[in-house]
């Protein structure tokens, strides 16, 4: 399933924030900056499915841990937007899932 443009923008924005922070903290060389930029632009596009994008983000986070936080944020955001886009789904189930995700994130951050 193709990812909507607004979600792609959201993903880019979230990644860019962590990316700039990493540059500020001198965590990335010029070569790495270019390499990461190319990877992101190549793998996050309207031609890719949601699953492909998510899979790429997982890989990106494992290679560059400073993106881990972004990935979670993106997942949440994607789910939220997807839910908004699919109102016919069970609201109760959705609420439970959301709470569960928030709990997981808190648990992860404590860890």
């Amino acid at each position: 399933m193709a990812v909507p443009k607004n979600i792609l923008s959201l993903i880019y924005n979230v990644l860019a924030e962590d990316f700039i922070n990493a540059i500020e903290e001198n965590k990335l060389s010029i070569n790495e900056q270019k390499k990461i930029s190319s990877l992101i632009l190549e793998n996050i596009s309207k031609d890719k499915t949601e699953n492909e994008i998510m899979k790429f983000l997982e890989t990106l986070a494992s290679d560059y841990p400073f993106f881990s936080k972004s990935i979670e944020t993106i997942k949440v955001a994607v789910i939220e937007k997807t839910e908004r886009k699919n109102p016919k789904e069970n609201p109760k189930e959705k609420e439970v899932l959301k709470k569960l995700q928030i709990t997981l994130r808190k648990y992860e951050s404590r860890k």
Binding site: A16, K34, S37, S38, L41
Partner: protein
């Protein structure tokens, strides 16, 4: 690197959106190398204004250091290969210049990029290539030494220059200005351009459109300038025009030519006296060095000095007025004169040297006993009795003597061909060299005949062959013209001396060439039309003689000479073949080939007609009217 240089980092983002970069053209990508890096603030601004995707796009499109390194390494390899082909001295200069340019590059790179991420090794790979910004002012200057550092500074600080961020201009000025001033004032500046030829060539081939046209112009300018510098550098050396092998073969020092016992100091001292006493001007000396070979220069100068009537009296006067130095002069000069006289086989030269010797002998009684004793010893000492080879001008003079002996004066006072002598010529020429020469000099006036006979009898075989190699084909040509037919004996003569004759005709023998040019001025063409035809037809150097022969005005002569240079260059192989054919008696074919060449390359029909007309006219005017010269000429033209 950055902290070491204490240079500020980039704080502003500047792009040149007017110049689209074609990602498929590496050279265009290279030109975008000058785009400054992005600071965090800039990235945040991009993010705020254009979104996260724009951040990644901007960073992705930044120049790739790896690409730059690869490209520049290729250029460097090419440049290094070029460098190894130049001679050692030049390479040292280039290497020195390169080192300084490396420093400049490092500075520029550091300023514009903050020097991030490139290792020292990587920097070493790319630093030989200076960004075009550094040299751009050369477009209007022609060479580095003409670049005004202030102009360059102005360029570097140009507010419209997209390569340099405003915030760093002060740093650029502070850092670069002293270096640029120092560099431009150095001798290395121009030499270093040669190093950039391969790079500039590649650049000019790769860049061909729009906004980068100025770089093409720049590259071409650099190329032309560097080429000119190299040419000039080589022209400055006497052996510059020769290949390394030729240099090795042709560059002979005076010491090598004249053995130790001939006393180089004495030669120099003689020249000093000659100049001091004014028989030889500095221009004479200069001309001698330009026109003579090491072998002929001293005899040439001596002849010139002695030939001037005031010389002997001037030297005498000098010696008389300077008794304190006369002994010293004699001590230096006489050993040389005596030794040279013994070695030099040319009769005229011996006479000249004897005059000098006599001059000093006159003062001998006044010299110290020690010096007199020394002279006596030198005089008695048998120095190698092998005569030196005759100078080419002497050989040519002898051939003229022989040629003139073929003519006689009629009762009416006219100079006419002595038909009896001319008729015997083929039989004489076909004899072995020594016998042939002895037979030829028999007709000379008694005094000259004796001198030449002595020399020809005593000279080693190789010298005799050398003389014969010039004189025989020459006389064979003369005979052919005079008789209007190709004699079988003459054919044998022409085929006997191919190497010498070829060398002569190809103009490699500078001394003879000079002599020939002088002869032409004095009407050589009138007397030696056959040789003139050969020269005119196809051989290198023909144009040089043309002005002398035909009395053309300078403009026409220049045109013809310049065309002849092309002819010589383009038909070198054909010319050699033509000559070989000629010497191998394939006479008509050779002349036909020559005529074809003449018509092919001398496309200016007026010039062609002029030459042919001049040939006809000069030949008809000068040759014995009993010879059907028209028939002879029509055979070839």
């Amino acid at each position: 690197m950055n902290p070491e240089n204490n240079l500020p980092k980039q704080t502003e983002r500047e792009t040149n959106s007017e110049i689209p970069v074609n990602p498929n053209n590496p050279w265009e990508r290279l030109t975008s190398f000058s785009e400054p890096p992005f600071s965090v603030d800039t990235l945040r601004r991009i993010y705020a204004e254009e979104g996260g995707e724009a951040v990644f796009e901007q960073i992705q499109n930044r120049p790739d250091p790896d690409f730059i390194i690869t490209t520049l390494q290729t250029a460097l390899t090419s440049a290094s290969e070029y460098e190894t082909k130049t001679d050692t001295g030049f390479s040292e200069v280039i290497a020195s210049a390169r080192k300084r340019l490396q420093e400049a590059y490092l500075i520029i790179y550091t300023i514009t990029y903050g020097g991030e991420e490139l290792s020292e090794q990587q920097l070493d790979s790319i630093v030989p290539i200076i960004p075009p910004v550094f040299f751009t002012n050369l477009i209007n200057a022609g060479k580095l030494s003409d670049v005004n550092p202030n102009d360059l500074m102005t360029y570097l600080l140009d507010p419209d220059n997209p390569n340099l961020p405003e915030s760093n201009k002060a740093t650029i000025r502070r850092t670069l200005e002293p270096f640029i001033r120092s560099f431009l004032a150095s001798d290395e500046a121009n030499d270093c351009l040669d190093y950039y030829l391969p790079f500039m060539n590649a650049l000019s081939q790769s860049l061909n459109t729009g906004s980068i046209k100025k770089i093409i112009d720049f590259a071409n300018e650099i190329h032309a300038t560097a080429k000119r510098i190299v040419d000039e550098a080589y022209e400055d050396t006497a052996v510059g025009a020769l290949s390394p092998k030729e240099k090795e073969e042709d560059y002979i020092s005076l010491e090598e030519v004249y053995p130790e016992d001939l006393n180089i100091e004495g030669i120099q001292h003689f020249l000093g006296i000659a100049i001091a006493t004014a028989p030889l001007s500095e221009q004479d000396i200069q001309k001698a060095f330009e026109t003579q070979t090491p072998e002929t220069i001293i005899p040439y100068l001596m002849e010139k000095a002695i030939g001037r009537s005031r010389f002997s009296s001037d030297v005498e006067k000098y010696l008389r007025d300077n008794p304190e130095v006369s002994e010293e002069m004699a001590r230096r000069i006489l050993p040389f004169v005596i030794a040279y006289k013994k070695r030099f086989g040319d009769p005229e030269m011996i006479k000249t040297l004897s005059n000098i010797e006599g001059l000093f002998e006159k003062y001998m009684p006044n010299f110290s006993r020690e010096v007199r004793k020394e002279f006596a010893r030198i005089d008695k000492e048998p120095i190698d009795q092998i005569p030196q080879p005759p100078s080419l001008s002497r050989v040519k003079a002898l051939s003229d003597e022989i040629y003139n002996s073929l003519f006689t004066t009629s009762k009416g006072g006219e100079v006419v061909l002595d038909k009896k002598r001319a008729k015997r010529l083929p039989r004489i020429l076909k004899k072995p060299p020594r016998k042939s020469l002895l037979a030829l000099v028999k007709n000379l006036p008694p005094q000259k005949r004796r001198v030449y006979e002595d020399f020809i009898k005593n000279a080693p075989e190789e010298y005799v062959t050398r003389m014969a190699g010039i004189i025989m084909p020459y006389l064979a040509g003369v005979y052919t013209v005079l008789s209007g037919r190709v004699n079988r004996d003459i054919e044998k003569v022409l085929s006997r001396y191919p190497e010498t004759y070829l060398k002569f005709l190809q103009g490699r023998d500078k001394a003879l060439e000079e002599n020939l040019a002088n002869q032409l001025k004095r009407g050589f063409f009138r007397r030696h039309p056959f040789l003139a035809i050969l020269l005119l037809s196809s051989l290198a150097g023909a144009g040089v003689y043309l002005q002398q022969m035909t009395g053309l005005n300078i403009q026409d002569a220049v045109e013809i000479v310049s065309q002849t240079v092309d002819v010589a260059r383009q038909t070198a192989d054909t010319a050699v073949q033509t000559t070989k054919e000629l010497i191998q008696s394939n006479y008509s074919n050779a002349m036909e080939t020559a005529r074809t060449n003449l018509q092919r390359y001398w496309t200016n029909s007026n010039v062609l007609e002029f030459i042919e007309e001049a040939l006809r006219k000069k030949l008809i005017d000068s040759i014995d009217t009993s010879v059907d010269i028209q028939t002879f000429i029509s055979r070839f033209y």
